[in-house]
C-alpha cells in the first residue's frame, strides 16, 4: 500500500508540473498535428490506401511525438538537482520508475486522445467502430513506449546529446510493439474484430509489456543509484 502511494506521489508530481507549464505537451501535440497534416501529401487522402495504412501512420505520429514527452521525463529533474534529491529520498528506484512511466503514459495518452479524432475528421475515417478494443490496444502499446522510454530516459539523462540518443535507442527496440500496434490498429479502424490470425499480435504486445516492465523495474535501481 505504501509502495502504491509512493508511485502515485511521483506520477502525480510529474503530471502536475507538466500540466502547469505544458512545455512538452504543447510541443508534442503541435508536432503530432503537423505530421498528421503532412501525411495528406504522402498518401492520397481520399484513397482506400489510407485506411490500409492508418495504423502505421498513427503509430508513427505517436512514436515521434511521444519521444518529445519521454525526453522530458527525467530531464525535468535536472535543474535544481531534483534528481539527486529524488534518489536520496526513501522511495525505491522501481517506485520512482513506475511513477514516471505512469506519468509519461498519461501524457502520451492525451496526445493520442486528441490525434485519433483529428485523424478521423481530417481523413474522413469512421475510426470508432471497435472503440473499446482500440482503446485497449492503444493502452498496451502506449505502456510499452512509456516503460522503454522512461528506462532509457534514465540511461541517457546525463548525456549532452540526450534528445538525440533517446530516439536512437528506443525506436529499434520498440519495433515489435509498434509493429503489433500498427497491425491491430489498422484492423480495428477498418471495423473488424481481432480474429485468430491477428491474436498473436495482441500476445506480442502483452508479452512485450510484461517482459520489459519487469526488466526495467529490476534494473532501474542500479541505473539510478549505481
Amino acid at each position: 500500500m505504501n509502495y502504491l502511494r509512493q508511485v502515485a506521489a511521483i506520477a502525480g508530481k510529474d503530471l502536475r508540473s507538466e500540466l502547469r507549464t505544458k512545455e512538452a505537451l504543447n510541443a508534442s501535440l503541435s508536432f503530432a498535428v503537423v505530421i498528421l497534416l503532412l501525411f495528406s501529401f504522402v498518401v492520397d487522402p481520399d484513397s482506400e490506401m489510407l485506411e490500409q495504412m492508418s495504423g502505421g501512420l498513427l503509430w508513427m505520429v505517436f512514436a515521434f511525438s511521444g519521444t518529445l514527452i519521454l525526453n522530458r521525463g527525467f530531464a525535468r529533474e535536472i535543474p535544481n538537482d531534483c534528481l539527486d534529491a529524488l534518489i536520496a529520498s526513501p522511495i525505491p528506484g522501481s517506485a520512482l520508475f513506475l511513477g514516471k512511466a505512469i506519468a509519461n503514459f498519461a501524457l502520451i495518452a492525451i496526445i493520442e486522445a486528441i490525434c485519433f479524432p483529428v485523424f478521423g475528421i481530417l481523413y474522413n475515417l469512421n475510426w470508432t467502430q471497435q472503440l473499446p478494443v482500440l482503446l485497449g490496444v492503444s493502452a498496451l502499446a502506449t505502456w510499452s513506449m512509456a516503460t522503454l522510454g522512461t528506462m532509457f530516459g534514465a540511461l541517457t539523462v546525463n548525456m549532452q546529446l540526450r534528445e538525440l540518443m533517446l530516439p536512437m535507442l528506443i525506436y529499434p527496440m520498440l519495433i515489435p510493439a509498434l509493429m503489433a500496434a500498427m497491425q491491430l490498429t489498422t484492423l480495428l479502424i477498418a471495423g473488424q474484430p481481432i480474429d485468430a490470425e491477428h491474436a498473436i499480435w495482441l500476445r506480442v504486445l502483452i508479452a512485450f509489456d510484461i517482459i520489459f516492465t519487469s526488466l526495467a523495474a529490476v534494473l532501474v535501481e542500479t541505473v539510478l543509484v549505481g
Binding site: 541517457t156 546525463n158 506480442v204
Partner: protein, 230 residues
C-alpha cells in the same frame, strides 16, 4: 597472458583460414543450382554465429559487471560488442552481395534480413551511448543495462518479424526449403570448419580490443593526473 592468447588464437585462425580457403576454392565442387557463388555462404553464416556469440557474451559480462562492478567485465562487454558488430556487418554485406546475384536485389524485407539489420542498429546504439557518457563508472553501468535490454529486444524482434513477414512469403523461403536437407556433407563440414576459424579470430580480435580498452583507461587516468599537476 592476453598477449599470448592474441598471438596463439590469431596464428591458429590464420592457418585455419588458409586451409579452409584452399578447400573452399579448390576442392569443393560448385553447388548444383547456384554455381560458384554459394561459397559466399562460408563467409555469411559463420560470422553471424560468431557475432551472436559475441552479443551473448557481452550481455552475460554486463550482468556480471552490474553484480560485481569489476572493470574487466565492462572491458569484455564493449570489446565483444564491437567485434560482434564488425562480424555482423560482414554477415549483412556478404548476404546482400549473394542476394544481388541470386535474387537480383540487394535487399528484401524478409524476417531474417530485417531483424539482422535492427540488431545491428541496436548494438550501434550501444556504442553511441558509450561515446556519449564521460564518467567511466556511469558509462559502464548504463551500457551494461542497455546490453541486457538489447539481448531481449533482439530475440523479440526476430520472433515478431518471423510472424510478420511470413504472411508474405518471399523468394527466400522457397530457396531455403529447397536446400534444406539436401546439403552436401562436405559443404556442411566446411561451414563448421569456417565457424571454428571465425571463433578463433573472434577470440583474437576481442583480446586485441580489450588491450585497447585497457590502454584507453590508462590514458584517461594519466590525463587526470596531468590535470591535477597542471
Amino acid at each position: 597472458m592476453r598477449d599470448k592468447l592474441i598471438y596463439g588464437a590469431g596464428i591458429f585462425a590464420a592457418l585455419y583460414f588458409v586451409r579452409n580457403l584452399y578447400v573452399i576454392l579448390l576442392q569443393l565442387p560448385d553447388e548444383a543450382l547456384q554455381g560458384a557463388v554459394y561459397r559466399i555462404f562460408f563467409f555469411h553464416l559463420p560470422p553471424y554465429f560468431a557475432a551472436v556469440a559475441c552479443f551473448f557474451g557481452a550481455a552475460i559480462a554486463s550482468g556480471l559487471y552490474l553484480k560485481t562492478k569489476q572493470w574487466k567485465y565492462d572491458v569484455f562487454a564493449v570489446s565483444a560488442t564491437e567485434v560482434g558488430l564488425a562480424l555482423a556487418a560482414m554477415n549483412l554485406v556478404t548476404g546482400m552481395i549473394w542476394g544481388r546475384q541470386q535474387w537480383g536485389i540487394w535487399w528484401t524485407w524478409d524476417a531474417r534480413l530485417t531483424s539482422a539489420l535492427i540488431t545491428w542498429l541496436i548494438y550501434l546504439g550501444y556504442l553511441m551511448l558509450r561515446e556519449g557518457i564521460k564518467d567511466p563508472s556511469e558509462r559502464a553501468k548504463n551500457s551494461a543495462v542497455l546490453s541486457i535490454f538489447a539481448l531481449f529486444a533482439v530475440y523479440f524482434t526476430y520472433k515478431a518479424n518471423v510472424w510478420y513477414r511470413t504472411q508474405h512469403p518471399g523468394p527466400v523461403l522457397t530457396i531455403r526449403t529447397g536446400d534444406a536437407g539436401t546439403i552436401d556433407p562436405a559443404m556442411q563440414a566446411m561451414i563448421y570448419h569456417n565457424l571454428g576459424a571465425f571463433l578463433l579470430l573472434t577470440v583474437a580480435l576481442v583480446a586485441v580490443r580489450m588491450n585497447l580498452e585497457d590502454s584507453q583507461r590508462a590514458v584517461e587516468s594519466l590525463r587526470r593526473r596531468a590535470h591535477a599537476i597542471a
